[in-house]
Symmetry: C2
Subunit: 234 residues, 2 copies
């Protein structure tokens, strides 16, 4: 593997920053659901302003559900982590023999030979904190959640939902005729979904064009079904 | 630790089945967003039927965004996993020396002593598949996603969103007077959110009453803000 291949390797193993991931989570739903709701309602309502009211109410509801809901879920996850940590600490003190066996089982399952396992168990269980860490990670599969990150993450997701959701509503705000509003909103939002999907693919390290088409498809389908549902009941 | 304590340990390490987790994901949003949208609109609309139309259009849009969107995200994740697997396989063949060093670094970071590391690296890198497995898990932190699970999961999330979303809309369907509809919808949905939050806490192994209050709070707040937004613009 030459220099270029190594560089490519680094680049492709690249994981999107958590900020970008949060923007993607919030904006994907923000571009899709208010868009689909507004498109759906424009088939039955006669006034653009009602579409805008419903759209903004949806954005308020959706951004709180995603933002605050996500924040509380992260806090709960942290409580869960701390409770498990407490339990694991106690167990290592109260049942060191059993916990040592668990370390051995984990190491064996990775293909380590018996003679190495015994010696590795010895070195891991020599340091109390490291031992606790090891059990948390590999017995329970838990990583310590960052409390500040939970707050930032929810804010980013909520704001991205709001920004994404405003895009499909803007045409209805500026165009009095609801049919024209719908037409411009569909064009603008499908384009935005395509660009967003492309960027998402780039950042996430997957195929950008595939991601662009798929994102547009989900948004378009959601809007189409919402339109049919609204037409059908009214 | 006596028998009872051991049992308790097993019970508390219990992780909710993936099915339950999917129901929780779909229903949490389904109970919250259509509820908040309907409540928000009932402050400005005069007819219950418009609230129902908007609510059902939202349910259609939201369930597709969550269901289909989630399905495609899972497929992308799988593609990503397979691409990384392919790369890791190639690297182990082309650059075995460097990959062996990476195994050693990972093992050292867990507190294993140098003499154990060398021997453990030897046994792990003896079996090609196990070596690849080890790198995927501990260098890249990736587990193989299950394709069938992605489909089932999206279906469960989408359907749970629909079921959750219908609960706040039913009162508007049966009560002509929009104020009565709103009143009954708020009572019924807050109660449903409380019960749902309690069950969620039970299943997820966190405090049920805390979860119940929090779930109700998010739903109530979303509805309140949506109501104010709708009132303010109209």
């Amino acid at each position: 593997m030459n220099e270029k291949a190594v560089m490519e390797h680094v680049e492709n193993h690249f994981m999107a920053s958590e900020f970008v991931r949060d923007v993607v989570i919030g904006m994907a739903d923000g571009l899709t659901v208010p868009f689909a709701l507004a498109a759906g309602l424009s088939g039955t309502l006669s006034s653009s302003s009602l579409v805008v009211i419903a759209g903004l109410a949806e954005i308020a509801a959706g951004s709180i559900a995603m933002g605050l809901g996500g924040y509380l879920a992260a806090r709960t996850e942290r409580d869960h982590y701390l409770a498990e940590l407490e339990r694991e600490r106690r167990e290592i003190i109260e049942l060191p023999h059993r916990e040592r066996e668990e370390v051995a089982e984990i190491l064996s399952s990775w293909g380590m030979e018996d003679k190495d396992v015994a010696s590795a168990v010895e070195s891991i269980s020599k340091d109390y904190d490291r031992w606790v860490d090891f059990m948390m990670k590999f017995e329970l599969g838990l990583e310590e959640p960052d409390p500040k990150r939970a707050r930032n993450s929810s804010l980013t997701i909520g704001l991205s939902y709001i920004i994404g959701g405003l895009i499909p509503l803007l045409p209805y705000m500026f165009l009095q005729n609801i049919k024209t509003g719908l037409f411009v909103s569909v064009i603008v939002t499908l384009l935005a979904l395509f660009i967003f999907g492309y960027a998402k693919g780039k950042f996430m390290g997957t195929k950008p064009f595939k991601s662009a088409w798929q994102t547009m498809l989900v948004g378009g389908l959601a809007a189409g079904v919402a339109y049919m549902v609204a037409k059908w009941i009214s």
